[in-house]
Symmetry: C2
Subunit: 350 residues, 2 copies
């Protein structure tokens, strides 16, 4: 266990990305994204991912010096080619393209290929939300990462294919969500395995296709699989994500011979509400909706109702003050990269 | 129980709508939609709904003579005012507006207010799909129909807020889905109650907020509530539906003093894929995806994997051949309307 401030981790990751060849601004972009994921409580998308990026870089799959480009565009659509740059750099670029086009045209769709791993998806939906627009973002794994069964099936055929959305509010932070279309994200199952806890029923099938609560089944050989979220609903949404992020982007769809895992294909939709109503009126109505929904009394044993996005904001505030605690495994991954890049790896807890 | 051909039911409903004042084309539109819902296996959105429309017409809430209008528009967006015409007439009109705009502009967003009940949502997503475009359609209840709790809450605050999507394929019918963002649609719970069967765990809370499998709880006084589908995921999607269909349309959002139930607010998004890739290439890749997903062996006890939309197509083919069987309750509702409108109600089973 090591506890560090966001600033310290930010500096560490920035330096590491620069050593891999990234320009200072791009390195800071990657660091900000990864640290922000830790701050918001999503350690599965936090700084330990640096090890994966470092490995890809060594294999020539990631080019830290590359810049994403708009490969083709209309007034309201664009195809971004990430040229295998850092995923966070590509996704931020593509998000800005979507925001600009939506401001001009009312709405915009941007697809992204060759973008490696974009990190925490909510970040891009939030950027669109903070620009005062509605943002919808989806990623697939360019056809790889198949750990989720189709509804009724036993052989995994789909990745966890997440969906994120940001809707601006006035004072209450609006609505911001980011969820896998599988019953759980793979990272959550791994956490349960590490803690020696069972998974809730309805999350997992073992390699024989039988329901199980054993989180180890997902990482055994042959592996079990995740079920889709909400049965046929998660399956349907996952197929839609595959079409948006894998087919429309050109990044690649689920198939028998996909490339390496977690190389995302991305789809971004941004919608300017001002054509429908004045922005302030929209924001006020979103706040009215969330305030009304929160008047529902808690279910027995539950805390007050939270609007999607609220919990991560609270967690971010807490971790900004108290620091980010990385477990041994996470820190070992970061330290390994630092060592390999000739950077000091014996930092104290703060 | 009464079994009738689709043609007989179509003629009956058309005549009834004309008696309420609808033009022949509009009456046929409503009939086609309702009968098609029965054909596809969704009796909850089928011809028995005529009774509800008839009641609204008597109360002056539904104007069968009205025509929907485009209240405002840009090249890629439109606000449709349904003027309280039949929902199916309004929704079909709005869907055509979306298709036309998407063909010109690459994508289009259309919102709809004052449209009564639009019926089976998949119909509109399918119309967009059949035009070769990707369609996303959502409806709320203009703020009423609150039977779903927010995640973690016990007092219902949201309607079942469904989402439908249509994605064109080449030979395999593509992908077509339509699901509530609640753990189940209200109609399915009512069916269980009628059959005296318990609901699966995870669908319902009783009036005290405790988990229950008793379908009666949803219709008791005070009523219980439905849980969101997939926990926080269904809750998040439901909020998004509320924003799209209730706020952007002007139809109204969930609040303390909503209007009558099942008066939908609607949101339609249509996306032309040809800007991203040739249409035939897109269709072929969708088929490639669905074919690959279907190679997943069935889970123990399950049949072959079905792509969303497949089951309703099979059911439609079967019922077109074998006829539509209405249970006593459903037929009684239709017969009551026919009687009230001075039409013969003593039709034989076919």
């Amino acid at each position: 266990m090591k506890t560090m401030s966001a600033e310290t981790l930010q500096a560490l990751v920035t330096r590491a990305c620069q050593r891999m060849g990234a320009r200072p601004g791009d390195a800071a972009r990657v660091a900000t994204s990864l640290v922000r994921a830790n701050l918001c409580g999503y350690d599965s998308h936090g700084v330990y991912r640096l090890a994966q990026y470092h490995e890809w870089w060594k294999k020539g799959l990631l080019d830290p010096t590359a810049r994403p480009v708009v490969a083709a565009e209309t007034t309201s659509a664009a195809k971004v080619d990430g040229r295998n740059a850092f995923g966070q750099v590509v996704a931020s670029f593509a998000t800005q393209v979507a925001i600009q086009k939506a401001r001009t045209s009312g709405m915009a769709v941007v697809t992204v290929m060759a973008c490696n791993h974009v990190g925490r998806l909510a970040e891009y939906a939030e950027a669109i939300q903070q620009a005062g627009l509605i943002g919808l973002v989806t990623v697939n794994d360019s056809g790889a990462g198949q750990c989720v069964v189709p509804w009724g099936g036993r052989d995994p055929r789909l990745a966890t294919n997440p969906i994120a959305m940001g809707i601006p509010g006035e004072t209450d932070g609006g609505i911001l969500f980011d969820f896998s279309t599988s019953a759980a994200a793979q990272g959550r199952v791994r956490q349960l395995l590490l803690r020696g806890e069972p998974a809730p029923p309805g999350w997992l099938l073992d390699a024989d296709g039988k329901h199980t609560t054993d989180p180890a089944c997902l990482f055994s050989d042959p592996p079990g699989a995740l079920l889709p979220a909400g049965g046929h609903r998660g399956f349907a949404l996952s197929l839609a994500v595959e079409v948006f992020s894998g087919i429309l982007s050109g990044a690649g769809l689920a198939r028998t011979d996909p490339g390496p895992e977690e190389m995302n294909g991305m789809f971004i939709l941004a919608l300017d509400v001002t054509w429908f109503m004045p922005r302030e009126q929209f924001r006020a109505q979103v706040d009215q909706l969330t305030a009304y929904v929160k008047t529902s009394r808690p279910a027995p044993g539950a805390g007050p109702v939270h609007i999607p996005g609220e919990n991560s904001r609270a967690e971010e505030a807490r971790r900004r003050k108290e620091g980010i605690t990385l477990n041994e495994q996470n820190w070992a991954k970061v330290a390994g990269v630092l060592r390999d890049l000739g950077l000091p790896d014996d930092l104290p807890s703060e």
